[in-house]
Symmetry: C2
């Protein structure tokens, strides 16, 4: 059977209505739409065809139709009309983002919150490093009796420090020597290059400061590992409860637990290859609990080899047009923000914070 223009129009209407109401859509409801100049009987025939073609489903004989996964897919790929963000929306998104986002881990959480608010759905946000980091420079500072500060400059203009306390009495020149050795031996080497031989060599050349070396290298390795790691935040799960499909508490709980844990580890991988906005319609999800939950995701660029991702989780009948529009706008604004800082001439800085 052929998918005529009219069939497409009917399908779009069904999906639109179902997105709005969460109720099966009957033929009469369609006829009441503006510029739908056919009688309910005609629509009924079309709907019967669409059902036969697998785009619609019928919960039971005397109910209206709801879109099938294939129906949603078609809708997302071809049928849905672009949602135009209103001035208000763009403005409120830009305003929200304007606040400086200092550290990536805080930023990730903040972005998730903003997206969750804007879409009224649970949101996921992540930032991960592409490519492996390495140290570009070591610096050691005496900070009092038996305490030293180690400063690492990493690739991509990141700076990390650590306070080291060891009962050692070292002179300025001892420290100078050690940093020189470190800078000569261990810079520009990614984590994978940290061989025992290399570390031994540093150890032997370190002189009086040798006992500092294991601490320093330990920390360096851990830092490089961390900087390859992904930062992730999930926010606003409770918004799910406002939707009719999650009145079933068990389901809501399953979904929430699932996006809390599992999705966390899977999604970045999914995002890996896709570029632009990606929509995963219900049953396309790998996780069983998410079989009737959809996910929309977008990537954005943070610069410095950092890759950002934002996404929302919602019912299969979520308003894809609106959600993708908002998400894209978010991603775009974020990318722009990171690309050209507001004050090009002024410090474009790394912030660093130490605790414990």
């Amino acid at each position: 059977m052929e998918l005529t223009e009219r069939k497409k129009k009917v399908l779009r209407s069904v999906v639109d209505l179902y997105i709005r109401t969460a109720e099966p859509v009957g033929s009469k409801a369609i006829t009441e739409l503006p510029d739908m100049k056919y009688s309910s009987a005609t629509i009924r025939n079309e709907m019967a065809d669409l059902t036969a073609m697998g785009y619609l489903e019928q919960p039971h004989t005397s109910a209206g139709r709801i879109p099938s996964a294939a129906g949603y897919r078609l809708y997302v790929d071809e049928l849905m009309l672009d949602y135009r963000l209103s001035m208000d929306e763009t403005k409120s998104i830009t305003n929200a983002i304007e606040e400086k986002m200092q550290r990536v881990d805080k930023m990730v959480e903040k972005v998730a919150k903003l997206v969750s608010q804007a879409t009224n759905l649970p949101a996921i946000s992540a930032a991960s490093r592409s490519g492996s980091a390495c140290v570009q420079r070591f610096e050691l500072i005496q900070a009092g009796q038996g305490s030293f500060i180690l400063v690492l400059m990493l690739s991509g203009d990141r700076v990390v420090n650590k306070l080291i306390k060891l009962p050692l009495d070292l002179s300025e020149s001892d420290l100078k020597l050690l940093s020189a050795v470190l800078n000569a031996t261990m810079t520009e080497i990614p984590l994978e290059g940290f061989t025992t031989q290399l570390m031994d060599r540093v150890m032997r050349s370190a002189g009086t400061a040798a006992s500092l070396v294991p601490v320093i290298l330990d920390f360096t390795q851990e830092t490089l590992k961390n900087h390859a790691a992904t930062n992730m935040a999930v926010v606003g799960q409770s918004r799910l409860l406002g939707l009719p499909e999650y009145r079933d508490v068990d389901k809501a709980q399953r979904v929430m637990a699932s996006i809390d844990e599992e999705a966390l580890s899977n999604l970045p991988a999914v995002m890996q290859d896709a570029n632009g906005t990606k929509v995963i319609v219900g049953p396309e999800n790998v996780a069983d609990e998410l079989k009737d939950t959809s996910v929309v995701m977008t990537k954005f660029d943070i610069g410095d080899g950092l890759q950002g991702m934002i996404g929302v989780v919602g019912p299969t009948r979520m308003d894809y047009a609106k959600v993708t529009a908002r998400l894209s706008y978010f991603a775009e604004s974020l990318s722009k923000m990171f690309a050209k800082p507001e004050t090009p001439q002024l410090p474009q800085a790394e912030k660093d914070d130490a605790e414990q």
Copy 2:
């Protein structure tokens, strides 16, 4: 009417049973308890008395009794038997904590997760600084053409750094001079002491490096502000949905939203004065949405002028004995962990991580 021993025993039994079953407790159920050697009729009389005294309530005439807020209060304050943690429990808590908690903000989240897991309830965790921080030493490092690293040592052995990029060509000695000025003028001064006069003085003495000054002081102020701030995490809200009292989705949503936002800002204040473990029984809560939700909180010490707090949120009938026991044990273990690090002779370090 007098609260006899037997009445207390009955009340305790009612609360215990209700905590376990979430169902109104009838007189017969009480008689079936071990060492309850009275008939149901006697218990009925006692229960009638307890109801008259305001410790029990009756959802409707022919239902069993449930504890009133006053009943819970009495139970928590006097009646409940100490819950002894099993070896397994203490072990699993200690194990969980053993993992090094590097940064306070990550730590806060981690602790919240652990507590939430241990109690199977949503958990809140927070760390806040008591007393105000100040800078103890400034250090400036040249990091290449027009880029410098600023290292701040704060009170309490915390170290913070920032990469500054400015199109300036400064010599090592320029930087030495500037750090000397900063160290002479701006150390040991809390945020409140940052007057314009003081900042002007630094500016005038800074020589060629003067244009670095505003950037440095801006950052210093912001850092001090941040270090006074509270770190907070809420985790595991979805666990609420497993409990019968939150099958009512609307209620669950209200509560979850409320602990997400409002409680966040209120609880630290509540915790301010209380020491030891604090129990807030349902209606004692200020927020309306939490009127039938209880909160249990404990403080612990992180050292360095840092104050930690962990708490859980649950139904009024939560198992106070178990929860308080676990919470206290957590708090104790955490305090201990921060008091004496596992390897007293080895580095006790500050870790620091910089982004964007």
